[in-house]
Symmetry: C2
Subunit: 230 residues, 2 copies
Amino acid sequence: MPELKLQHILTLAELFAKGARYNYIPITTSSLGQSIHKSQQAASKHLLELEADGYIERLRTGPKVSIRITTKGHAEMSKIFSVLKSSLETSLPYVEFRGTIISGMGEGAYYMSMKGYTKQFKSKLGYVPFPGTLNVKLKDKEFIEAKRSLDAHPAIMVTGFSDGKRTYGWVKCYPARVNNVDAALILLERTHHDDSIIELVSKENIKKLAKLSTGSQVTIRVNVKPKLSQ
Amino acid sequence: MPELKLQHILTLAELFAKGARYNYIPITTSSLGQSIHKSQQAASKHLLELEADGYIERLRTGPKVSIRITTKGHAEMSKIFSVLKSSLETSLPYVEFRGTIISGMGEGAYYMSMKGYTKQFKSKLGYVPFPGTLNVKLKDKEFIEAKRSLDAHPAIMVTGFSDGKRTYGWVKCYPARVNNVDAALILLERTHHDDSIIELVSKENIKKLAKLSTGSQVTIRVNVKPKLSQ
DNA sequence: ATTACTATCTCACGAGTAC
DNA sequence: TGTACTCGTGAGATAGTAA
């Protein structure tokens, strides 16, 4: 939208930083060039063009020049600023998955019901999951990729344990919403599923609560902490 | 400072706006081209370059492409955002004048003491000015120019009047600080001064209060309402 | 329908330099 | 010192087109 040439943005920003909004500020084209990491000639041209476009006013006193930003210049800069602002702000802070419910193999349910896990679930998630995991077959490559990159986000870690006979791997939990029902997406250290399947646990039976059955389409949202821009 | 190429800013902003921060978003290069007001080919190139520089991740599914912004892309965008933000915020919201005090001609004092003016000063400025204006000879062309452009800012208007014999012009008042003493810069509809001289009035004798005398250097600040960037 | 290659063109930039 | 010309180079854009 903005008609201000992109290559002029930093130049104008530098003039703002130098305080040229309401007062004429003396500035040399070489110092300006340095600030914007361009040549003296480029800085000079920028000023001429910014003036021609009505974004700044120049005042020559002998060989020197003083600059002031016009209302139009300020408006244009604000415009770009708010475009960026709203762009950054519209980032909804969740990772979304879509897929279809597949019948669980019962296996997941068995493991997740073991005392070594349920004790941790109770203390870390706040509840003991309903026995039985919800298995969702992801629809597209992008969701599989998204699953992989969940690693980059903080998870609730349920540690592995041993019952003397064998050891059981860790479980990473990501609080999630399945069709607007609270649940947790779980990543298992050892899983029998392939990459395209995700498993979820929840306090109650999700299928019943969200009126789902095998073959239903579901949308899963995992909230992530947005990085604060600042 | 930012190493993100300037021509990529709007492209990346558009991807943010489309929600590509945490999820892969399917997008066609032609629609992206339209959004950034460039050609399909340019959009395609932008995506390839943004990927090469690590700002986005692309996922091809047949002929289509899905895009997600990386942490690096987010960081870079935030960086540019805060550069612009701080640029806009450093604009100190006042117009500054510098010059030397010259002896008043007594004339200004005479007019400003007329009832037709003092009544309005009392109600609009809150005080009747000390009899005698402070005259300041501006030092540079830029301050003379700044004086002219004061018109763009809101002023307190003291209207002209007639005493039967003759009429007296309006007076525009701009609350100001003279070497940190409260005063008001006044612009007269009819003045005997040339452009390079400004006149000020204040409640008390500014010269005494600010320990000034003819020939002293003074700095005058007129506050202006900063336009809110939003 | 897509994406992205190749060729071409424009214009932003820097070097040299006039003033 | 300054600013800002001219000119050469190359990056960035578009058109046409292949896959």
